[in-house]
């Protein structure tokens, strides 16, 4: 996978961010177009392409969610936006209650829902971290499928939290 390659890493889902930053800086010094302004045009173009790749890689890999999506996509998974009607079944009741609260502008209920969804998201992040470690040990497709499921749930909760925050900030 190109993004890992350009930073000199093997594909891993759990990354040490300090180490990632160090690699990014070292590679930037080597590849940045500033180093090639007096080089022939072809070399300049190559520096441009490579440093763009490096920047794209760093931007993606430093965010755990974007990193996982990148690995999923490159392992043949479809990570397209989940449609809003596909409510994860275990969340049906929660979502129903939130919608009621939003409709009635029930401030305490909305705040309480916000707290619950925050907690749910934290639980998902915890589980994701475990799965990331699991995949790094043994790169099994089954683990990736579980990760994909977690990411979908997480995205759904993110959207709910956005609705809550929009309501609370108005």
């Amino acid at each position: 996978m190109q993004y890992f390659d350009v930073l000199g890493l093997a594909p891993r889902l759990a990354l040490d961010l300090k180490d990632l930053e160090k690699r990014f800086y070292a590679k930037s010094r080597e590849l940045h177009p500033d180093r090639f302004v007096r080089a022939p045009h072809a070399e300049q173009q190559r520096a441009l392409e490579l440093s763009a790749l490096l920047n794209d890689a760093y931007r993606t890999l430093r965010e755990p969610i974007a990193r996982a999506e990148y690995v999923l996509k490159n392992s043949g998974f479809d990570i397209g936006e989940q449609r809003s009607k596909d409510v994860p079944p275990e969340l049906l009741e929660e979502v129903f209650e939130l919608n009621m609260a939003l409709e009635e502008a029930d401030q305490p209920q909305i705040e309480a829902a916000g707290v619950r969804f925050d907690k749910l998201r934290a639980e998902i992040d915890q589980e994701l971290a475990t799965r990331f470690g699991q995949w790094d040990q043994a790169a099994e497709t089954g683990t990736l499928a579980q990760i994909r499921g977690l990411l979908n749930r997480r995205r759904y909760i993110e959207n709910l939290l956005r609705d809550v925050n929009v309501h609370l900030s108005n």
Binding site: Y25, S28, R29, H32, P33, D34, V37, R38, L48, E49, S51, A52, L53, N55, D56, Y58, R59
Partner: protein
């Protein structure tokens, strides 16, 4: 046996750093002792003299007062913009738009029409000459700064200015980032710094992380229409209303009076940065206007303008993922940051004492010189990692923008998208690229339309064209496309929404070369006339001397003839002719000069003064 390698090639040409500002511009160079400015600040004003030649800088600023329709200032505000976007500017600035198209503005300056990049080119050429005079060699490469919040078209227009002026712009650097470079050079510390840059016409804020010589921009924000000019315009408007009620006469339409008032208002504003009280005065056509202005009142008036800078600062912090407490240092840039109220607002917001050690008018040019040193390979270990200020997207169904590269992404940045056809046998695909943060096409800035051409005729949806959008280190977009099946490059035709086409820029370069020749000839003629003036004056004086009368009549006649001939050719446009007749007169008056010298010596010996 090894031999010494001797490099017989000349030293590579020097790279200068240029701050091309809305109000003032400056050039600097980095040598072993550090960055230093080359020559004085040049006001970004361009005028056309009565004889059709260009005046730039101080001379042009003086012309602005006597012949406002022959001079143009603040043209940076118009860079990379179309006629319909500048209607607001036209209410505040006396730009004489002589037409042009949707994509580029043409200004009437005296008898000439100029596009904003050509106005910028005149300023750049002046700075280039100034640098050449100081460095004693030809300068052809430069780093030029732009407001961080400049969009693609504004950046491209700035590069075009360089090309027209005969400068290879190696890199465009964002002004706040340049300021950080100027400050960070000798400190080399780790930490987070915020740069607050309030110039004549633009406001930028950037937050950077410093690490071992790497200047990594985390986020940038700003307003390309906010600056000291807004304060000036507010004060002018108030003074004009005041004058109208006092004199019973509205002078707003009188450009000469308004320019005079503008100069006085700016002086008053600047004084109030140091004194608590000043006066705004206008002496026009025998009438006097005088009004006291206190700092307190000024602050009350400009608070809304200063407050407009705070929103972008907060947004920038949020985008950088930082809180106010995490900002270690604050740097002030731009002449408007001399205003005590501005300093107070910055101190309050960032809870830190802002750095003001470097002259805010010079710091951007100095930083540009540092970056020039980096590019030339003279400054090791320093590396700038900047970001794109605006998100880049493409138009999709229903006039919605799909974002491809988000704002504050480190540049160079790229993204590859797949496109296909929607009709059987379709040969062309049109891609509309936009810049901005809003969701709908109508609220974003159109950047260009790219047309993929000569696609192989296939049933709908079968073609696979990979389009790569790349923002380079200057913040300028490049687009390439290839057929994913065949791997062949696809022809992309670019139709920029704003700015000059390559052909137009080429034509301007050619024109400027011809003009450069005209200008040079013009200067030679002027110089010859000055020499003739001196000669004629000396002869006039000699005719009063007794030596003239002791001269043989034949010589006197010959001298008179030579004098008349010089007077006849004086107004010719051929400097050779003028110089030849000066020489002829010189020869004809040789013995006269000798006689005068002898008389003077004798007079001196006698102890009497001869004059």
């Amino acid at each position: 046996m090894s031999t010494f390698q001797i490099d017989f090639g000349g030293a590579p040409s020097k790279v200068v750093g240029i701050d091309l500002g809305t109000t003032n511009s400056l050039v600097a160079y980095m040598d072993l002792t550090g960055p230093r400015v080359l020559g004085p600040i040049v006001p970004s004003v361009v005028a056309v003299r009565a004889d059709g030649t260009f005046a730039v800088g101080e001379e042009a600023r003086a012309l602005l007062l006597t012949a406002p329709d022959r001079a143009v200032y603040s043209a940076k505000r118009l860079m990379g913009r179309g006629v319909e976007d500048i209607q607001e500017e036209l209410k505040l600035f006396p730009f004489h738009v002589s037409g042009g198209t949707e994509s580029v503005i043409r200004l009437q300056v005296g008898e000439k029409t100029m596009t904003p990049p050509e106005v910028g080119a005149q300023v750049l050429r002046k700075l280039k000459e100034q640098a050449e005079a100081e460095l004693g060699e030809t300068v052809s490469q430069a780093v030029v700064t732009v407001p961080a919040y400049f969009n693609d078209a504004q950046r491209q227009a700035t590069k075009d200015s360089g090309r027209i002026a005969g400068l290879d712009v190696l890199r465009l650097v964002n002004e706040p980032t340049a300021a950080a470079l100027a400050y960070g050079l000798d400190k080399r510390n780790e930490g987070t710094i915020a740069v607050y840059d309030l110039g004549g016409g633009t406001f930028d804020v950037s937050i950077l992380k410093l690490h071992d010589g790497i200047f990594e921009v985390l986020a940038t924000n700003g307003d390309t229409h906010l600056g000291g000019d807004d304060i000036d315009n507010l004060l002018i408007r108030i003074a004009l209303e005041d004058i109208a009620s006092e004199w019973g006469q509205d002078i707003a339409g009188n450009q000469e009076a308004v320019q005079l008032l503008r100069r006085n208002v700016i002086a008053a504003k600047e004084q109030l940065s140091f004194a608590p009280l000043t006066t705004i005065e206008l002496d026009y056509q025998g009438r006097q206007y005088k009004r006291e202005l206190t700092r307190e009142l000024l602050e009350k008036l400009i608070t809304p303008i200063v407050d407009r800078t705070l929103g972008p600062c907060r947004a920038c912090l949020k985008d950088a993922g930082l809180t106010v407490e995490q900002i270690d240092e604050v740097v002030l840039v731009g002449g408007s940051t001399r205003i005590p109220l501005v300093r107070h607002a910055v101190r309050n917001l960032f809870k830190a004492e802002p750095h003001t050690e470097l002259n805010p008018d010079e710091v951007v040019a100095l930083g540009a010189a540092v970056q020039a040193g980096v590019l030339a390979g003279d400054v090791a270990d320093t590396l700038l990692l900047d970001v794109t200020p605006l998100s880049l997207g493409i138009e999709t169904m229903g006039g919605v923008v799909a974002k491809l590269i988000h704002r504050n992404s480190t540049i160079p940045a790229s993204v590859t998208e797949q496109f296909t056809t929607s009709i059987d046998g379709q040969r062309n695909v049109l891609i509309h690229v936009l810049q901005g943060e809003r969701e709908l096409v109508k609220d974003c800035r159109s950047l260009a339309r790219f047309e993929l051409k000569d696609l192989p005729p296939l049933p709908a949806g079968l073609a696979r064209i990979e389009v790569k959008f790349m923002i380079d280190a200057n913040g300028i977009l490049q687009v390439t496309a290839r057929d994913a099946r065949s791997g062949q490059e696809t022809t992309v035709e670019v139709k920029p929404s704003y700015g000059l086409t390559d052909e137009q820029v080429e034509a301007m370069i050619m024109e400027s070369i011809t003009h450069a020749e005209d200008d040079f000839r013009e200067r030679q003629v002027r110089e010859a006339r000055v020499e003739a003036d001196n000669m004629l004056l000396a002869i006039e004086k000699a005719k009063q001397n007794e030596a003239w009368f002791t001269l043989p009549e034949a010589e006197r006649d010959e001298a008179t003839r030579a004098l008349n001939e010089l007077l006849m050719v004086y107004h010719s446009d051929d400097h050779h002719l003028i110089l030849a007749h000066i020489e002829k007169l010189n020869q004809a008056t040789m013995s006269l000069a000798e006689n005068m010298m002898n008389t003077a010596v004798q007079g001196a010996l006698r102890g009497t003064k001869i004059d």
